[in-house]
Subunit: 274 residues, 2 copies
Amino acid sequence: MNYKQIQKAIQAKKSFLCVGLDSDVNKLPASLPKNATGMLAFNKAIIEATLPFAIAYKINTAFYEALGAEGWEVMEKTLEFLPKDVFKIADAKRGDIGNTSKLYAKAFFETLAFDALTIAPYMGEDSVKPFLEYENKWVILLALTSNTGSQDFEMLKLSNERYLYEEVLLKSQEWANHEKMMYVVGATQSEKFQEIRKLAPHHFLLVPGVGTQGGNLEQVIEYGKNEAGGLLINVSRDILFASQANDFAEKANQRAEFWQKQMREKLTSVFQKN
Amino acid sequence: MNYKQIQKAIQAKKSFLCVGLDSDVNKLPASLPKNATGMLAFNKAIIEATLPFAIAYKINTAFYEALGAEGWEVMEKTLEFLPKDVFKIADAKRGDIGNTSKLYAKAFFETLAFDALTIAPYMGEDSVKPFLEYENKWVILLALTSNTGSQDFEMLKLSNERYLYEEVLLKSQEWANHEKMMYVVGATQSEKFQEIRKLAPHHFLLVPGVGTQGGNLEQVIEYGKNEAGGLLINVSRDILFASQANDFAEKANQRAEFWQKQMREKLTSVFQKN
């Protein structure tokens, strides 16, 4: 999907919602086996229940790799449940020397049919560039993450007075523009969104941390939105594990609707301004 | 393996050599099929050919993930070829919020039987801590990598006058000591080893970049060694693809011996001082 297509999806569904398929096998509803088969059935049910409200799905590879090769199969098969007009993110936080990043690009953009991959910026330009060579595929670079550890390095002041995450936002714009790159900014960092929008006005931001992690949705939209919508707001556990009983899909549907409703109200004003 | 066991392996084999199983399926010798079966046969032959000279093996997950679920199976089976007394590194450069890093730890330390995992430090303490909770398992944190992109962020000066990679070395020592943590330092950065040894005198350093990437082995050992040996020096392509003909294993054996011989000379002096 390209920039315009994502924008259109947001307008059509009146939603910024990205559902994070953090399908921890140990947290599956009692009715499902706690193995790869159970995980796949769970993902199918969650996708069907949330598709009216979600414009994107994010698969965090950790939950799949914990099952080894079988987990990778679940990831492959889960992608088949997702229609073309939703944005498919591999939250894999990869990044390696150029020679090796090429192989990761192949893994996620060719072997698997993801639209986007999250990348850790630490190793710099040549670790990111191979992912940018695919048409209509996206790099989502970690900028300011939602966890407490974001204080340790991301929020360090550099000798040029910028924070490290600000330097990441600026330097990486020399490698690709807003039609190839997005940034991860945690919802728990909502006081930083205004500043970030000055540095990266046109980029989409992938925003985890709403829901269980406690980020403020209203502030994220108020300060994070842009003329294209500009936000993919991820909710994982709050939707996936809304119920651990037989009604888990119904409850997931309700929670997805709950989040989309709040987004819808704010969204109307975004596109009216255009 | 614990600190002492790694030291003993170095002394016994008189070697710092870590063989990087970057077994790119497209570069396999002509005699092997370019698929998962070929990759596994290749790894088996390379391990047998290099085992007399290597104390560690490093599997870079990118080359396996490029084959999807089948690649993960190759990784699982490759580990079975490796004896207990060699150090098994997953070069996966993972790292995520705490909740998710736990699952990565499970993937590499439980589902797969690795001794160590490389981690990108960008997200800070809670992204690293879950990996430290396993007995006799190791975190190998990226500090100063071998690629040109290391200039982009790792080498940035902070307001406290330190480079970012120096801050990573210092801050992370608050999380674990040299018996749980190692650091990645590229061989192409050999002029930095003396400085790094002042900041982390007792830690093992995993050193990629010797061989095809052009790092200077002599300088790495001269300035990087410590009282426990302190180095795992990785060579990948120079050994793996020494020949693409039927004699690939023989040639890999010769290249592994070539590297170990140079290490052996230097090593004698390391342990004589103790």
